[in-house]
Symmetry: C2
DNA sequence: TCCTTTTACGTAAACGTTTACTCTTTTTAA
DNA sequence: TTAAAAAGAGTAAACGTTTACGTAAAAGGA
């Protein structure tokens, strides 16, 4: 059995209320008492019980985080940002790996509710109807990061996917590329899939460029998906000089497949990524990519939770964070890259 | 204010003890009562309060995990394994990013103690003396994963680093390589640094091969470190045909530097990695590497915690898990690779 | 000096559960 | 039938805190 506030109180010859006040830095005790109690705490090695605190104070200083995938550079960078901020504010993080499975996410939400978390961060995945209902039924605030929901208007932190895709496409075009392949996310994904596709198409159109449908493909943001989709695109044997893959992992897949087929990047083909995870840095050649400020997003997400807890009456808290191009080595000017099937 | 067991009891016309028993699937109530209570629970949308449970039952169904770095493929894969097992056993994970900083780890341990976690997993980092003392003072079990401590004998789950390094070195030698560069971890690191170095040297010696000191370097397992160390090794201009880097990230670093210097892997040089994270898969060329079964290690670590909680009197619980070579494309036979400075 | 305010505590209730004891009532066994 | 056992349920104490309220003494003000 461990040392409780009672033991401290008895040993120091005061009431538990006094110990509590001292521990919590409130006032209502004399200087000598304080010192005596502090010494006793030290001697006994007393540690307050956060569970008991949580029960009476009705806050647990913990936040639940739902991530579709833990083992990737994207999620882990996001998590690092959240952890840093949470720590500084005295909060801990429960992490849940939903694997994009409906039932897992529901289970997670249920558990987090029972564990009385002070907030929930739902990251980079689509929200189903029943998840949305659960989220609504929670007493704690919930925010989205790197995603949002059209039907359930929780505050979110994300980049403007549409604009980011425009930026990327424009970058390629300004480098002189005209025939551009595109590997996007699922078009059924209204948050990260569709808007990027739209951004790409809109920008192409604005520059009077045609998008060749056999040069477009849609995957799931993963390495394998990038690799396979690029293989399919190559099968079409249509001319192109650049490919825009909307995640670094997919871009790495493109690089990998290109390598296998003896296609040299950037000499034969330009490749543009998206995210700016470490995958972009480690790639060969290092990937030029659209950066999402993942750590900042994680930080903002927990700040958002915290600010909602304070001003219960909150204004619209959505935060659009800025994307930007990180130029590395995978994109050259059109004139310096040969292109494929020309 | 949310619905409590009292509300359910009142509404259903029974005592809270009965509700509790029904919720927890114990016995001591009639079939009709059970149905009535269950219906009431459904209607009211009652959710048990795990904090209150934790207070009386003195278990919180949560486990704390300390990781030196969150944002890497290594940690996140490990985490994924832990999460999966924890979830299946009804546990949640608090993740803490120590950043290998003494004070952060101490703070984390303190918080986890206050939050009354049921176990602690200390991952892939060296344990300092004061951390060891804190760990000892915790009431819950603690285990190491992918590390261990010589001075604080907590149970651990890891591969045999010495043997794994032997395996890797032997693999290279069996492929006919004789002049092998080595990029290790810090020699001050008695767990993951020194043993791998020793395994490398021992195996070289056993095969009557000389290790050329200017072809060895020691880093911190990260990409940049691999890159820079390889650059230094090249400066020595000593002949060699293979390099063994003891993390995939560092191996990716050598690939990256090799690419910049126009060295072709595997045609000019063989590269062997360690870990088998996604970095190995995504690398160009895909890395042949020593696999650590990270997910399995994560799983075993939480299983270990759980089993210690049950049989309080526990035997020696250390678990050495098996490493193995994953052959991909970065190592060819000596006869097929040109080598450098020959 | 006397009254008022402040300081320094202590008491006890609450937070939402679980569970050891009760006490009936019903079932079982002989 | 009747005693014993089992089933069905309630009461209340505990878990370790925080905090509203009370009270006596000390300090302050005139």
């Amino acid at each position: 059995m461990s040392i409780t506030i009672k033991d401290v109180a008895r040993q120091a010859g005061v009431s538990i209320a006094t110990v509590s006040r001292i521990v919590n830095g409130q006032k209502g005790y004399g200087e000598k008492t304080k010192e005596r109690v502090l010494k006793t705490i030290e001697e006994l090695g007393y540690t307050p019980n956060a569970i008991a605190r949580g029960l009476v104070g009705r806050e647990t200083k913990s936040i639940g985080v739902l991530l579709p995938k833990l083992s990737g550079l994207f999620a882990s960078k996001l998590l690092e940002g959240m952890e840093e901020t949470a720590r500084n504010e005295g909060y801990s993080l429960f992490v849940c790996h939903t694997d994009s499975k409906e039932d897992r996410a529901i289970q997670d939400l249920q558990v987090l509710k029972e564990k009385q978390v002070d907030g929930i961060i739902y990251a980079s995945d689509q929200l189903s109807e029943s998840q949305g209902q659960m989220l609504n039924s929670m007493v704690c605030p919930a925010v989205f990061v790197s995603t949002q929901s059209l039907t359930h208007p929780f505050p979110y932190v994300k980049v403007d996917d549409y604009q980011a895709a425009c930026t990327g496409t424009r970058y390629l075009i300004e480098k002189g590329h005209k025939q551009i392949a595109f590997i996007g996310g699922s078009l059924e994904d209204p948050i990260a899939g569709k808007p990027r596709d739209e951004g790409f198409r809109k920008t192409m159109k604005d520059h009077h460029l045609k998008v060749e449908e056999s040069l477009t493909a849609y995957g799931d943001f993963r390495f394998q998906s990038g690799k396979e989709n690029f293989k399919n695109i190559l099968k079409a044997e249509k001319p192109f000089t650049a490919v825009f893959a909307v995640s670094d992992e997919m871009a790495a897949g493109v690089l990998s497949e290109a390598y296998e087929q003896g296609i040299s990047v950037p000499d034969d083909l330009a490749v543009l990524g998206y995210d700016n995870t470490m995958a972009a840095e480690m790639a060969i050649p290092p990937l030029t990519t659209i950066a999402q400020p993942l750590e900042e997003m994680g930080q903002k997400a927990v700040e958002l939770i915290l600010s909602i807890r304070e001003n219960k009456g909150n204004i619209n808290k959505n935060k659009i964070v800025k994307h930007r191009i990180i130029e590395r080595k995978s994109v050259l000017e059109r004139s310096k890259t040969k292109g494929l099937f020309l």
